[in-house]
């Protein structure tokens, strides 16, 4: 059988992979290294609602450039809807409209925000004070007492706001605060009290940016004005100041989402952070929709977050292939190390290793007891799974109690895989002794650690996420490795005695 077609395929994969990567490098100015870059957040808002059947109108707040962030580009996907961008009361909004809509509706809005520490908030006028606030009894007395208490302990609008909000936090809630909270929502209530005391303030909504998060919602914040200045307060704690990862989504004191002609409306956010050169970030949109843009960046954000991990798996698998074919390391379960390595990415290496060893060690002891119970295999493995879950829960709680938050990440371990590992190791122990357990378990762990180091390398992450062509190159490499008939490294040791005489 001729090997020609095989080498042709490999050559094709290599050429195509390299060409695609170079194309992406040249056309989209994606650099080969992750260095000298700017962080860009891609945020996607997904509006869901159930349409009543008639015409529908959806009005949603949009973010503007602000302190810390510059808005680069935005996109919408809303087939069948007309769209207009409006400026209203100092806030930007999108308005979708349609004549007829029935059933579940989904509208998408995505925005790219460049992290720009030098960016300043635009000048904003303080909102007019609402003088027409009326309280019913007994809330009126409670309100004025709360205000008085905070007033006496403050010197200016900001300290007043701080004192007022802390009086509503869990630990310091007085009788009055508790009474008011039974009737009003916390944030609007606080704004109302501030206004009553003559301090201009309003409720704004912000998004806490966290890489790879999906289905997030906005959190309420209170913007408190002192003349032309303003400061942001956390209505939950009274802390003053804007967290660095907070993007104000709605800052005009309006509703975030208004839907006419529909019910059950809600908006969820997913986000990804990506590093790219600031210049390219601005320009990347120009050629975005050409067919050749084989980039996962054209997918909805939700899926991109998933893909980032998925695209790393071939790297882990390549490590396994190298270690097995070229080195000759034995592992328990062919690709189990890759799954463990994926868990390490979430837990970080040391925590992951310690957690893994603890769970497997305790699991082995308990599994050893289970073997006396004479159970059927499926039942026994299930029992091991439950044991593993119990061990993980206990460790999580213990590490939390001891203030080791890292211990909580232990839940990222794939439990079924762990259980099978324990089961296999335990049988191996019974039949071949602890030495084989060490060899195979150690082999798996070494492989997992090396796979982790490869997958967690910033450069590898950059390359796999930004250049899809690399996958073809990986494929070609793996095909070539699958064709390697030479000796494995460890065989040079194994067969040494034969060459001695």
């Amino acid at each position: 059988m001729s090997r020609l077609p095989f080498y042709l395929i490999v050559a094709f994969l290599l050429v195509a992979g390299v060409a695609l990567s170079i194309h992406r490098h040249v056309q989209f100015e994606v650099p080969w290294t992750p260095g000298e870059q700017r962080q860009v957040w891609e945020i996607e808002a997904q509006v869901n609602f159930t349409a009543d059947g008639g015409s529908a109108k959806v009005n949603m707040a949009l973010p503007s450039s602000q302190q810390g962030y510059r808005i680069l580009t935005e996109h919408t996907a809303s087939p069948g809807y007309g769209l207009a961008f409006l400026e209203e009361n100092g806030g930007r909004r999108a308005e979708w409209s349609t004549r007829e809509a029935t059933g579940d509706q989904q509208l998408y809005y995505s925005v790219q925000a460049l992290v720009a520490p030098e960016s300043k908030s635009p000048e904003i006028e303080p909102p007019p004070l609402r003088r027409d606030i009326v309280w019913e009894t007994p809330y009126d007395t409670a309100a004025s007492q709360v205000i008085e208490r905070a007033w006496s302990r403050s010197s200016d609008p900001y300290t007043f706001a701080r004192e007022l909000i802390t009086d509503f936090t869990e630990e310091r809630q007085g009788e009055n605060a508790r009474l008011l909270l039974t009737q009003f929502d916390r944030t609007p209530l606080l704004v109302r009290l501030l206004n009553q005391a003559g301090v201009p303030a309003r409720e704004v909504s912000g998004l806490l940016l966290d890489h790879g998060r999906r289905r997030q919602s906005l959190t309420p914040w209170i913007q408190v004005f002192d003349e032309q200045e303003w400061a942001l307060f956390d209505p939950r704690t009274g802390t003053r100041g804007r967290p660095d990862n907070l993007l104000l989504w709605e800052s005009a004191g309006q509703a975030v989402l208004e839907v006419q002609g529909g019910s059950d409306s809600r908006v969820g956010f997913s986000m990804l952070s990506r590093n790219q050169p600031a210049a390219a970030a601005v320009r990347s949109q120009l050629a975005d929709d050409t067919l050749l843009n084989f980039s996962i960046h054209s997918l909805p954000l939700e899926d991109q977050a998933l893909f980032q991990t998925i695209l790393l798996i071939p790297i882990g698998a390549l490590m396994v292939v190298i270690l097995r074919v070229l080195v000759g390391i034995k592992t328990s379960g062919t690709f189990m190390p890759v799954l463990i390595a994926l868990a390490f990415i979430q837990t970080t290496l040391v925590t992951g290793l310690v957690g893994f060893l603890l769970v497997v060690a305790v699991g082995l002891v308990i599994r050893n007891y289970l073997s006396y119970l004479n159970l059927l295999l499926v039942a026994r493995v299930t029992a091991v799974i439950i044991t593993v879950i119990a061990i993980i829960s206990v460790f999580s709680v213990l590490s939390y109690r001891f203030g080791l938050n890292a211990g909580l990440t232990i839940t990222f371990f794939p439990m079924i895989i762990l259980s099978w590992t324990i089961e296999r190791m335990s049988i191996l122990w019974e039949e071949e002794g602890p030495k084989q357990v060490l060899i195979q378990g150690g082999g798996s762990l070494i492989t997992a650690v090396l796979a982790y180091l490869a997958m967690n390398n910033p450069w590898v992450r950059h390359i796999t996420f930004n250049f899809l062509g690399v996958q073809l190159i990986l494929m070609a490499l793996i095909l070539l490795l699958g064709n390697y008939t030479g000796y494995r490294l460890l065989e040079l040791r194994r067969f040494k005695p034969v060459t001695e005489d």
């Binding site: 295999l377 040791r493 005695p497 034969v498 060459t499």
Partner: protein
């Protein structure tokens, strides 16, 4: 500690990768694997082709059937229970004799009927088979190994591995269980591997834990005088497994029974490479020679061919 690829190449040693791609991948059709991976299928097929195997006492296929083992065993002295899809000695229970309600293992350990039933139940639930898939338990008659071997083994039955390539026996070794190997004939567990001359059936060289050995570690008996009786018949049986399975690169495990002579114990579609260590010689030149032979040669002629071309003199005699 380490050798070089060039040296291994010069010795004609075959590595795992080459075995997998060049021989197993090319000569063993995956479709045929079930014939050898399932010991029950192998046994039935062997009967069809007139190749002797240890007598089948019965099979247990359902958890319900576990309770009927006792009835099956009536009239049998020793027996062996094994998973049809097991490998590497996993899940093999050898009972040398039944002593009242006690089942005695070669090591002298005694089991109750409950222990035996639990073992069978474990086999059925797939504990010993690849990937944990449900399995069938085989109960077969105990092999009474040839007296001439009793000096060469500790507890277990010594078996003879013959690599059969395209129907030609190319290399053979005998595996002698030791105390270190816990009575199992697995080389990596410490069994002694003895290279056997294809021409005469006599020992050429011995290794334990990859180191050379001239005697059995437990009995102290020297290996040089080891000679397998009925060698030609054994080779003929091994060679016949090619026609029986259609697999081009095959490891046949043979045993010598005191009363029934050479028998096929099991077949392996992915035979290991340790046989090269036991023989002190690589497989490569032999395999190359066989690859140049035409197809369609009768088993008897193939055995003669191999015996003629692969004759070796013992390294043990010189040194003993």
């Amino acid at each position: 500690m380490w050798t070089t690829p060039a040296r291994l190449h010069a010795k004609g040693i075959i590595g795992m990768n080459r075995r997998n791609i060049r021989y197993i991948g090319r000569y063993n059709n995956r479709r045929l694997y079930p014939l050898v991976d399932d010991k029950l299928k192998t046994k039935l097929l062997a009967q069809e082709y007139g190749i002797t195997t240890p007598a089948l006492i019965g099979t247990v296929t359902t958890q319900f059937g576990v309770k009927h083992i006792l009835a099956m065993l009536v009239g049998h002295q020793g027996f062996v229970i094994k998973p049809a899809k097991g490998s590497g000695g996993k899940g093999i229970l050898v009972i040398e004799r039944i002593d009242g309600d006690r089942y005695v293992k070669p090591s002298g350990a005694q089991l109750t009927l409950g222990d035996v039933e639990r073992h069978v139940s474990n086999i059925l639930s797939g504990l010993y088979s690849l990937g944990g898939s449900p399995d069938v338990a085989l109960i077969e008659a105990l092999i009474n190994f040839d007296e001439s071997f009793s000096e060469y083994t500790y507890e277990g039955v010594p078996d003879i591995r013959v690599i059969v390539f395209k129907g030609y026996p190319v290399m053979a070794m005998m595996r002698l269980s030791t105390a270190a190997s816990d009575g199992k004939a697995n080389l990596h567990q410490g069994a002694v591997g003895v290279g056997i001359d294809i021409a005469s059936g006599t020992a050429i060289r011995g290794v334990q834990f990859d180191r050379r050995r001239h005697d059995h570690p437990d009995t102290g008996h020297e290996l040089a005088s080891l000679r397998i009786s009925d060698w030609a018949t054994l080779l003929r049986l091994a060679a016949g497994c090619f026609e029986m399975t259609g697999l081009g690169y095959l490891g046949t495990d043979m045993v010598l029974d005191r009363d029934h002579g050479p028998m096929l114990l099991e077949l392996n579609a992915r035979p290991g490479l340790a046989i090269q260590m036991a023989n002190g010689e690589g497989l490569r030149s032999r395999l190359d020679l066989i690859e140049r032979q035409p197809e369609g040669v009768a088993p008897e002629e193939r055995v003669v061919f191999s015996q003629h071309h692969f004759a070796r003199s013992s390294e043990l005699l010189e040194t003993a």
